[in-house]
Symmetry: C3
């Protein structure tokens, strides 16, 4: 069985989501499996009506314009496009936390790229077998 990277994604901010997506892409490139569990703001950021509109930063809000301008100059894709490409490998599974899905009143079909809605216990079970675990 391939080694696994498990990321718990609480954040809904595009700086941290970009870091997450780049690491997911890196892991897929190294032939690892990637599993992602979205909690509160993570579920919010994957909502179909939010994902492309959301420009929230976790830190240095005042530097957001500069960073995004520079990313465009370098032709860097947005975090969801990096993640979508990684997902096309078939090696990335994305789960939404059932509690967070209740809070936002969403089902799988309301969320972009999400495969299933699961509980925290099930997620902990999946994470136990990972070579790398990160809380984003």
């Amino acid at each position: 069985m391939a080694e696994k990277l498990c990321m718990t994604v609480m954040t809904g901010s595009i700086d941290r989501l970009t870091g997450m997506a780049i690491l997911a892409g890196g892991a897929v490139g190294m032939d690892m499996e990637v599993e992602i569990f979205l909690q509160l703001w993570g579920v919010y950021a994957f909502k179909k009506d939010v994902i492309k509109q959301n420009m929230n930063l976790n830190e240095f809000q005042e530097k957001g314009g500069e960073v995004i301008k520079r990313m465009q100059e370098l032709n860097l894709p947005m975090w969801y496009d990096i993640l979508k490409e990684a997902k096309e490998s078939g090696k990335v599974k994305i789960y939404a936390c059932s509690t967070a899905a209740s809070i936002w009143d969403v089902k799988t079909e309301d969320l972009e790229m999400v495969d299933d809605i699961i509980g925290a216990g099930e997620w902990v079970e999946k994470s136990k077998d990972a070579a790398i675990t990160w809380f984003i």
Copy 2:
């Protein structure tokens, strides 16, 4: 020996603390041991005179009211009640970082649910044996 989840909790914000408490509860439900190490804002958030008053969010402050209203509609308990219930299993140990305890000038008895004050080296030693490690 049961498998272990070790969470380093730097945050004092209730969105991230809620994610942490739900994961602690999930791990206990899967019969894992849980160990938690509070750093700077984590120690602050567990102070007896702060824990129930603190409404700080790490992200999307403007959405706080909406989320908390929705949590009340769904009868979701607050993060410290989720954690308290997990702790009643006897499987959760909570430590405060000695440096952070000095900064806030607190002892174990000034903190809610905290079992002991330990140093970072001791915490790293504990984390080495964990199946899952997260920095919250």
Copy 3:
């Protein structure tokens, strides 16, 4: 081979960087190897022209003055001095993410304490062998 702590550092805020540096110091004290990978704001915070000027906090900005005054009373060093001391052991390696280095248009010599610039895939490979992995 010594056990290893791998920290992915997205943050550029001094509260989270202080937690990171204290944990790096703790790990070195326990004879572990430490590897650090700087992403977006992490690279920014290690820039030679930023590292000592940066006073950004991730949370509780309004409490920053109180915490820093208290750290000075206790003679606690700043995060970069804690990390510099840990690095003198020879057990700490610091890498900057190549994407983030492009965004900030920096080379190794523009960054304090950074040993090399590497890609996300290489970092994932390094992290797979770690006893502890944290995303800061």
